[in-house]
Symmetry: C2
DNA sequence: CGCTGTGTTGATTTTTTTCAATCCCCGTGG
DNA sequence: CCACGGGGATTGAAAAAAATCAACACAGCG
């Protein structure tokens, strides 16, 4: 559904219709016929899967050059809305499909992009299922920083760069992403701040004070190709 | 990584090496070079993503004709092991790739299969992030039943069929799938049983007593193309 | 300058986990 | 055939985590 990539097949968006979005404006409604795919040109968007009773799970945040609109069914089963003012390019699925069939390189790039989406979802599932509230918030901060670094063309391991972050989404959005309530997100931020790992500088901005400590708390070294157990079968009670 | 499909490209496994697995035997170790892809011929397998400190998130259970081995990186970042005695067919990635490049139909089938994996992961993320322990267990029972129905070629909406289920995996495996502890899984089963929705008939077998009630608890009508909010933007506090 | 909506903090309740004890199924061996 | 043992499963009690309910703070905006 969402995601990554600056790839060959993105040229299908050259002839695409541009569309501007205001914060919280909806690009894709879950349930709509899946006729188009989109490329993010500017701004941040949010993909979420609404439940039947008002609950929703935010699945990912989209940045410049991310792609969104994949689905196996003939209707979208996720919602996409703008977080910041944004510009997207929309192209019909058919045009994309025609672009892909002829060109093995484009095909491969497209499949690789889909894998990356998949791996992001696996990371999310791991957070939701296995990490504590504090850990999830720490991972989230690092995740956002990582995405910012990427979208600025910087190395994701540029350690000293980008220690001030803006979180353009609401606490509710973060909560629905992390499977927590907004109060729990606030408290987790407060605890992480109390531990000296970061500092909330008013509004939705923050400053990372101890990147190493934050990474330790998160139990994560990097994203997309996260550090994992090499082979050892983990023995547990 | 894991999953679904009885599809065109599966013919690449005709010339594949068969391998038999005993319960808990590992087919793919996270961290191994990703040289092969597999098709499940018989039995049940389990895909999981191990964390750094022994935590693990089970990502899916695999049944006959499911496919596993996808990854964007050159190493697997997930573990696959047998739950029941199983038989798999292994083929090199290269053979699969060669099979796909020439054939748009196979390509499309492959991409569609990847979408289905993706949608299963989205469902999992929704459960992990938004549902209570009881709901997760109810969804899990319905999910397993759904997979059994599919693998038997029955209609997933055959309501009265298949009311007795065998859960071949341990409570710990279920717990790691649902993001709970094994005791919580036990308690949730007990509560659902007390509510008269199912009955544990010794060992790892159970009997569904009230399918409708179970679906209500789960908040799910069906899988793979789950019921979702049609359009309405959900207003919430 | 007050209003409104988001965010934070506090107190309490609920849910889940943790720790610990038993149970029970099942295979084994007497 | 039945006692025995062992690992998984269940249940209980206590602790911890997160959610809920409620009040307050604060920023942005008319």
């Amino acid at each position: 559904m969402p995601n990554d990539a600056g790839d060959v097949f993105l040229d299908v968006f050259e002839s695409a219709v541009r569309r501007e979005l205001q914060p919280s404006q909806v690009l894709i409604h879950a349930g709509d016929p899946a006729e188009q795919v989109f490329n993010i040109l500017d701004g941040m968007l949010m993909v979420s899967r609404p439940g039947l009773d008002g609950r929703r799970q935010v699945l990912s945040f989209l940045f410049t050059d991310n792609f969104v609109g994949l689905t196996a069914a003939d209707r979208y089963n996720f919602t996409v809305e703008a977080v910041t003012p944004a510009v997207v390019a929309g192209q019909s699925r058919e045009v994309l499909n025609r672009r892909l069939v002829g060109d093995p390189a484009a095909e491969r790039a497209f499949i690789r992009m889909t894998y990356r989406v998949l791996e992001n979802l696996v990371d999310l599932a791991f957070s939701l299922g296995q990490r504590t509230a504090r850990e999830r918030v720490a991972v989230f901060v690092l995740y956002l920083r990582h995405r910012y670094l990427l979208s600025q063309g910087l190395s994701p391991t540029a350690d000293d760069a980008l220690l001030t972050l803006n979180l353009p989404m609401s606490r509710l959005d973060i909560a629905d992403f992390l499977g927590l309530k907004k109060e729990t997100v606030s408290r987790s931020f407060a605890q992480i701040e109390a531990a000296g790992l970061l500092h909330r500088t008013g509004g939705r901005d923050l400053e990372i004070r101890d990147l190493t400590g934050l990474r330790e708390l998160a139990g994560v070294l990097d994203f997309a190709v996260p550090a994992r157990m090499p082979t050892a079968r983990c023995e547990r009670a």
